[in-house]
Amino acid sequence: MSGVLVGLGGVALGLPALAVLAMGVPFVLGVRLSEQAVARLVSAAFAGALLACLALDALLLARGGEPEVVTLTQWVALPGYSIDARLVFDAASAVMMTLTAMLCGLIGAFSASYLHKDPGYHRFFVLLCLFGTGMMAVASGETLDVVYAGWEVVGLASALLIAYFFGREAPVRHALRAFAVYRVCDVALLSAAVLLHHHAGESSLGSPHPVEGGMGLLIALLLVFASMGKAAAFPFTGWLPRAMEGPTPSSAIFYGALSIHAAPYLLIRAWPLLEPQPVARGALVAVGALTALHATTVGRVQTDIKSGLGYASVTQVGLVLVEIGLGLPTLALVHLAGHAFLRAWQLLRAPSLLYDWKQRVALLGGERPPALHPWEAVLPPALRDRLWRLALERWYLDELGALALRPVAAAVRALDGVDRAVVKGLSGQPVPQNYGETP
């Protein structure tokens, strides 16, 4: 049975990775695949992965849902030290893996015509398959080493897809902003992985002997912090609506369906480490509640549909985080899965929805004045205006972030000035500071 599970797990993980290779090697050799070939390759990869996931689901059901941990391969083997690529097949991973394969396949099929004749067609599908590989690793990884590897791949694919339309500056700037948030929070994830490995002897997320005491709390808090980046949780919400610069299919799969839910999924997977830590769970509830409150207020003042849907996503993810913190990981998993499908559908529908809405308005003879939401109607006008301003400025989080970074940047620039002075003093030549000043 283990052999079958290893095989199916390997297929689910390996097919998207093989698709990346199959599209990457021709690029290296200077051969350009046709759009049709690319679309078929990607469809086949995710269809195969989906079949493998469904087979895994059936096997799991036949076993009565009993989880199984399998070792795909011994990734690193050294005297006295090894890193195993271990996968876990249980209810949570079955749901997430099937969701990943299904949604990636759907997005691939949608994008084949949506991005027809777009110059970045091949690039999109390479990044989609890369993302699929990373998500499968996150979904099925039993150790933090495997989850971390997939997590990084997901973040990189996300950053590169936000900058898909790289002929303009705004998508590129926003992609870097998203990547900065990911990197800040990934510090916590990697630290948690190393500390867990060091103190528990392995970085298993389902370890029957979790680390106790202050170290256990630190690891749990690090995992909570790590999840905040990808979940766009408060105070890191700013990157998500800006990430909508990417093509609609990538917005759907990343910020509607999968990437944003990787964060709460990580916490569901790490539940054995979180459960004995009430302080960490309390922090998670607070973060989730603040996130939901922030996103629901800011979302109400958005003027474009994708940003509005982005904030709606964040609101729901905030609620999912609250559910996990309150000790309801199963409810959180169900909520997450349902939300993923709904939001992906809404985002994919958004472009045509606008068109339909404009047609309907025209039929009705022009725009109707916007109606106030019931709670907006009961607020005093002064408070309503203040709240509106606060929401418009996204609670001033961007300004606070810039304020915190400014002294650090100034200090580093001062040190750079010292280095340049030393170079000038010893070499007799100043370091060119601006473009055009060649040595």
Binding site: G80, F166, L415, S427
Partner: protein, 454 residues
């Protein structure tokens, strides 16, 4: 009668040495001699790597083990890639001769236990850096640092003990360009062609001295201050890379930051961290070499490359863009690349006992990754410049794709690396001096099963 392994090692050293001497004595066709010498060294080094550790020392007291066995292969690969893919006008006899000589000296240094011979090789190696730098300001800047490195290293190797090891580590930091000695290394990138600086700085040849220092015996409680200094230096260099307005200086700071992480591992008293450091050196060195060469390629095509605005070069040069991204991510340990494994080993082996230090190191690696993407986005994405940039030439692609493919292969299948390394006798200097236990914390180690050699 010396064994086959030592024969091949000496053969490789002779190949590199003869190539250097031939070019220095008025030889021409450096663009042919360089790749041929590198390829031959690579070919001779592969059997050395797979033969297994021979018993007993070799001629001149040379030691062939897990530390020295990969040296010839790695140096051969680096020479091949550099001479094949560097801008043609820089591939001149003097430059290639210095490169071959430096390579030979450092392969020998890797196989040399601490002592007078190692001291002599170290001084020679430091001296050979100067011809590799651009004449004029870069050499004037480098001379005092390299002189300091040579003196400190020689004294440290001859003195021995805790003070000797400390001086030797300081010498390595100066030679490698780690803060506070970064000015000459980073200055080499901006005061001359990046290709020349890359050949001198990216291979991190200075680490060859640290690879055989008896850390556990000498440092004990001094290990933590050394780690703190190295981590802070690497973090500072990564932050400085981010505030640069030119690509060449940014690449220089990124290179020395990665070197700091590698030295942290190499200087670790535990086997796992030490092995991680050696792997980080090889993987990171290869990736930084590639990154430097792509920087040099872009610089040679358009002149100085600003990073305070977007240039959009990917529209005209997608291959160079892809290579820059691949090498940059490989240098900072992205999953699927060789440095992911090596950085993981450094993290687990070096500072698992100190959470704050761990988080500082992880922050450094994270910042390095952000810097790579920042540079990539500034140089290659955004509205394209009106003047098209020619993409990578066939010879540039050959060398760079070879290096990239090896980095990805080792990242996806790191067991190959480990198996080969173990076959070469991975115990290294810790086994020679009986230090393959967990060092001074062995009795209190909560996980003795993780300590090699038990």
């Amino acid at each position: 009668m010396i064994g086959l392994g030592y024969t091949l090692l000496l053969g490789g050293l002779a190949t590199l040495g003869l190539g250097a001497v031939g070019l220095a004595l008025g030889g021409r066709r450096a663009e042919v001699v360089g790749p041929v010498a590198g390829g031959l060294a690579l070919a001779l080094g592969l059997p050395v790597l797979t033969l297994g550790a021979p018993e007993g020392p070799g001629p001149g007291g040379l030691v062939l083990d897990g530390v020295s066995a990969p040296g010839l292969v790695v140096v051969g690969l680096w020479v091949l890639v550099l001479t094949l893919s560097a801008p043609r006008r820089h591939v001149e006899p003097g430059w290639v001769a210095a490169l071959l000589a430096r390579g030979a000296v450092h392969v020998a240094l890797l196989a040399c236990p601490p002592g007078p011979l190692a001291a002599g090789l170290w001084v020679l190696g430091c001296g050979l850096v100067l011809p590799g730098l651009s004449a004029g300001p870069a050499r004037r800047l480098g001379a005092p640092y390299l002189g300091l490195a040579a003196a400190l290293g020689a004294v440290g190797l001859l003195w021995g003990g805790t003070a000797g090891v400390a001086l030797a580590l300081l010498a390595v930091a100066a030679r490698t360009g780690l803060p506070p000695f970064q000015s000459w290394a980073v200055g080499a990138y901006s005061l001359g062609p990046p290709a020349r600086a890359t050949a001198v700085i990216a291979p991190m040849f200075g680490l060859a001295l640290a690879a055989r220092l008896p850390m556990a015996q000498a440092l004990h409680a001094g290990q933590v201050p050394v780690q703190v200094l190295l981590v802070l230096g690497a973090l500072l260099a990564a932050a400085l890379a981010l505030v640069q307005v030119r690509l060449d200086r940014a690449t220089g700071f990124l290179t020395v930051s990665c070197a700091g992480v590698a030295l942290l591992g190499v200087a670790d008293e535990h086997n796992i961290g030490h092995l991680g450091g050696l792997l980080s050196w090889v993987a990171g060195g290869t990736a930084l070499l590639g990154l430097g060469l792509v920087t040099a390629a872009v610089r040679s095509r358009r002149g100085p490359v600003p990073v305070d605005r977007h240039l959009g070069l990917a529209a005209h040069a997608p291959v160079l863009a892809t290579l820059f991204l691949l090498f940059g991510l490989s240098a900072v340990g992205a999953p699927g690349t060789a440095a992911f494994v090596s950085d993981d080993l450094v993290l687990h082996g070096s500072i698992g006992d100190h959470p704050l230090l761990l988080m500082a190191l992880v922050s450094t690696v994270s910042l390095q990754g952000y810097t790579v993407l920042h540079l990539f986005y500034r140089v290659f994405l955004g509205p394209p410049e009106p003047v098209p940039l020619p993409d990578a030439l066939r010879r540039e692609r050959a060398g760079l794709w070879l290096a990239a493919a090896l980095l990805l292969l080792a990242g996806v299948a790191p067991r190959l690396l480990g198996a080969v390394w173990q076959r070469g006798g991975a115990a290294g200097p810790h086994a020679e001096t009986g230090q393959h236990a967990a060092g001074p914390h062995a009795e209190t180690d909560p996980h003795p099963e993780l300590s090699p050699g038990r």
